[in-house]
Amino acid sequence: MLSAIIGVSTIIVFSAFSEAQLEQKSFVTHSGQVIQTSGDVLDPLYAASTVEFDPMDYLREFNYGRISQLPDGTTLREFTIIAEDDKIQEISPGVFYNVWTFNGTVPGPTIRAIEGDLVRIHFINNGSKSHTMHFHGIHPAVMDGVFETVGPDGGRFTYEFEAGPVGVHPYHCHVMPLEEHIVHGLYGVYIVDPKEGRPPADEMIMVLNGFDTDFDTENNFYAANTIPFYYQHHPIQIKTNELIRIYVVNMVEFDPINNFHLHGNLYNYYPTGTSIVPSTYTDMITLSQTERGIMEFQYKYPGKYLFHAHKVEFSEKGWVGIFLVDNPDQKSQTGIDYGN
C-alpha cells in the first residue's frame, strides 16, 4: 500500500517535472551559447522559418513562358503576370508587412528568354492602385511601362518586345510614387540568354532586397531573396568542382550601395551579364540600385561557406547565407564536419 502511494506520487511528481521541462524553450546565440527561457523565443536567426514565401524554391525557378513559333520562325514566349497590393505577408518570423506582388510573390517570377525571342506579357492589374511593368533592356517607348499606367481592379496591358540585350535585368513597377511601389515588392528578374547558351552550371537567382517595415525610409530587414537569414539556417547545397552561376540583382532602396562577399573563394564577375568576358575576378562586388550581374565560381573544398553583404549592418539584419559544399566523390566526408 505504502509502496503504491510512493509509486503513484513519484509518477505524479515525475510527470509534473517533465511538464516543467517541456515548458522550457531554448535558443542559440551568435556565440553559440544555448539559452533557456520559460517564455517565448524572439529569434529570426536560427528558428526554422515558417514564412509563406520559400526562398529555396525561388532560388532555382526560371520561367520560360508558353512557347510557340511565329510564322517567321521566331520563338514567342508568353507570360501572364498579375499585380496585387493587398497581401499581408510574414516577411520575417513574427513580422507582418503589406507586400505588393507580381504573381503573388516578392520578387515576382523570373522571366527567361533567349536573345531575339519575342516576349509577350499579358499584364493584369488586380490591385487597388495603378501599376505597370517596366523592363530594363531595349524596347519601343510604348512598351516602357512608364506613361501607359494600367488602372486598378482588372486593368490590362500587353507588353511585347524582342528579348535583348543578353544579360540579367530587373523589371519593376514604374508608377509614381516610384519608391513606394518598388519598396513594397513590385520587382523581379528578367534574364536574356545568348543564342549559343552559357556553359552548363548550377544556376541561381539572388535578388538583394530589403523592407522598411516602419516607414522611416530606412530598411529594417535585408535579405537575399526576401526572407532575412533564410539561407543561413537553410544552407544552399552545392557540389565541389561544379560551376555555380548566380544572377544577382540589387533591388535595395534607401541605402546607396549593397555588396556581395563570398567566403573561401573568388568569382568571375560579368557586370549586367552583357559580355561573355568577365570584368573581374574577386570576392567582393559593390552594387548600386538595380545594378546587377552574373557571378561564376566553383568550390574546391567541401564545407560550409558564408556569403553576405560586407556592409555588415545589412548582414546583421538578414542579408547573410551559407553554401554547404558537398564532395560527391567522398560520401563519408560530410560537408558539415569538414574543417570544424
Binding site: D40, V41, P44, F96, T213, D214, P228, E313, G318
Partner: protein, 389 residues
C-alpha cells in the same frame, strides 16, 4: 415612513444619472456599435527599464498603446539579436514583459536597444553608458547607506549647528532666516516636481499623463498634510513653545520626503548606470542639503528644545535619503520615483505655507525687506548649490 421614501428618492436621484452614463458608454463601445470606428489604432510600447547583467541585457517593456501587441524581435544598436521574452510575447494593454537579450556588452559604452512589433514598427531606447546592474547584496546596501549618510544625514546635522547662531540674532534677522527657509523650500518643491517631470518624460508613456499625475499627487499630498497638520495643532491646544517644534517637525517630515526622492534619484542613477557617482556629486548634494538643516533650525530658534529632539528632527529629515538610495538602487521603477517626488513636493509646499502663516501671525504683514530678501536669498542659495550637483 416618510423619511424612508425620502431616502429612496435621494438614492434613486443619485443613481439614475449614473445609469444613463453606463447606457451611453455601452452604446458607444458595445459590440454592435460602429459609431467610433474611425481612425487607426496604433500599437505602442514603452521601454521602461534596461539592465545590463552578466552577458545579457534585460529590457522591461510595457504595452502603453490602445490595443494588444505582439513582440516580434529585439535588436542591439539596430542589429538583430536572438532573444527571449518572458512570460510571453503577447502583451495586453499595460502588461509588461522582460526581454532577455544575450549580448556580451562592454562596460560604459552607449547602447540603443530596439524592440520590433509584429507590424514591423520598432521602438528604441538609448542608454548613455552600460553599467552592470546592481545585485542586492549587503556590501552594496552598506555602500548606499554610507552615501545616504554623507548626502542626507550629516549635512542636515551640520545645518542644525547654526541653531545657536540663529538664537542670538535680532528679530529682523531672525525673520530673514525664516524667510530664507521658505525660499529654500519653494526651490526644493519646484526642483522635486521638475525632476518628476523629467523621469516621466524619459521613462513613462504619454498614456499615463505623467505631468498630471505629478501635479495631482503633489496637490493631494499638500492638502492632506495641510489638513492633518491643522487638525493636529488645533486639537492639542499647543503652547507657545510647542508650536515651533510642531512646525520644525513638519519641515523635517517634508524635507525627509524630499530627501527620500533625492536618495531614490541617486540610487537609481547608480543602479541604471546613468551617472558615475563622483565624489564631486556627493559634495554637491551635501552642500545643497546643509541648507535643509537651517530650514529646520529657524523655527526652533526662539524656543528651548532639548538637543535629543533636535537630533531626532535631523534624523527624520536626513535618514530617508538612505532608504531612498536602497529603494532606488535595488527596486527602481519610474512610478515609485514619481510618486515619492510628488509627495515630497506637496509636503514641502505645505511646510513653506505654514512658515509664511507663522511669520504673518507674528508680524501681521509679509512685505518686509527681511522677508522678501530672505525668500530671494534662499532660492538663490539653492540654485547656486544645485549647480554643483
Amino acid at each position: 415612513m416618510e423619511i424612508k421614501s425620502y431616502n429612496v428618492k435621494t438614492i434613486a436621484s443619485g443613481i439614475i444619472p449614473f445609469g444613463f452614463l453606463v447606457i451611453m458608454i455601452l452604446y458607444l463601445v458595445g459590440p454592435s456599435s460602429n459609431l467610433l470606428e474611425f481612425g487607426v489604432s496604433l500599437p505602442e510600447i514603452t521601454i521602461e527599464k534596461v539592465e545590463f547583467v552578466n552577458s545579457e541585457i534585460h529590457v522591461t517593456v510595457r504595452n502603453t498603446g490602445p490595443i494588444p501587441v505582439k513582440i516580434a524581435m529585439a535588436d542591439v544598436n539596430d542589429r538583430i539579436q536572438p532573444a527571449a521574452i518572458e512570460p510571453d510575447k503577447s502583451l495586453e494593454r499595460f502588461e509588461t514583459a522582460l526581454v532577455r537579450i544575450p549580448f556580451s556588452w562592454n562596460k560604459s559604452e552607449p547602447y540603443t536597444i530596439g524592440i520590433t512589433l509584429d507590424d514591423g514598427v520598432r521602438f528604441d531606447k538609448f542608454i548613455e553608458a552600460a553599467t552592470p546592474a546592481i545585485k542586492s547584496d549587503y556590501q552594496l546596501a552598506g555602500f548606499f547607506a554610507i552615501i545616504g549618510t554623507y548626502v542626507g544625514v550629516i549635512p542636515v546635522m551640520i545645518g542644525l549647528l547654526w541653531l545657536p547662531f540663529i538664537k542670538r540674532i535680532g528679530k529682523n534677522k531672525y525673520n530673514f532666516f525664516l524667510a530664507l527657509t521658505v525660499g529654500l523650500l519653494i526651490f526644493l518643491g519646484i526642483d522635486a516636481m521638475l525632476e518628476g517631470f523629467e523621469v516621466s518624460k524619459e521613462n513613462l508613456s504619454t498614456n499615463f499623463n505623467g505631468g498630471l499625475l505629478i501635479i495631482t499627487i503633489a496637490l493631494l499630498s499638500f492638502l492632506g498634510l495641510y489638513y492633518s497638520a491643522e487638525k493636529l495643532t488645533s486639537r492639542t491646544g499647543l503652547t507657545a513653545s510647542s508650536k515651533p517644534f510642531a512646525i520644525g517637525l513638519m519641515i523635517a517630515i517634508g524635507i525627509g520626503l524630499h530627501n527620500l526622492g533625492e536618495g531614490l534619484a541617486i540610487g537609481a542613477a547608480i543602479g541604471l548606470g546613468q551617472v558615475a557617482l563622483s565624489t564631486f556629486l556627493i559634495v554637491g548634494f551635501a552642500l545643497h542639503n546643509t541648507t535643509e538643516g537651517i530650514a529646520i533650525a529657524s523655527p526652533l530658534a526662539k524656543t528651548k528644545s532639548p538637543v535629543s529632539k533636535i537630533i531626532l528632527l535631523g534624523l527624520i529629515a536626513g535618514a530617508p535619503t538612505i532608504l531612498g538610495t536602497w529603494i532606488g538602487g535595488f527596486f527602481y521603477s519610474p512610478y515609485t520615483a514619481i510618486v515619492f517626488l510628488s509627495i515630497g513636493a506637496g509636503a514641502i509646499f505645505q511646510v513653506a505655507l505654514v512658515i509664511l502663516k507663522w511669520i504673518y501671525q507674528s508680524e501681521q504683514k509679509l512685505v518686509q525687506t527681511s522677508i522678501v530678501s530672505g525668500i530671494g536669498a534662499g532660492m538663490l542659495i539653492m540654485y547656486l548649490t544645485s549647480i554643483l550637483v
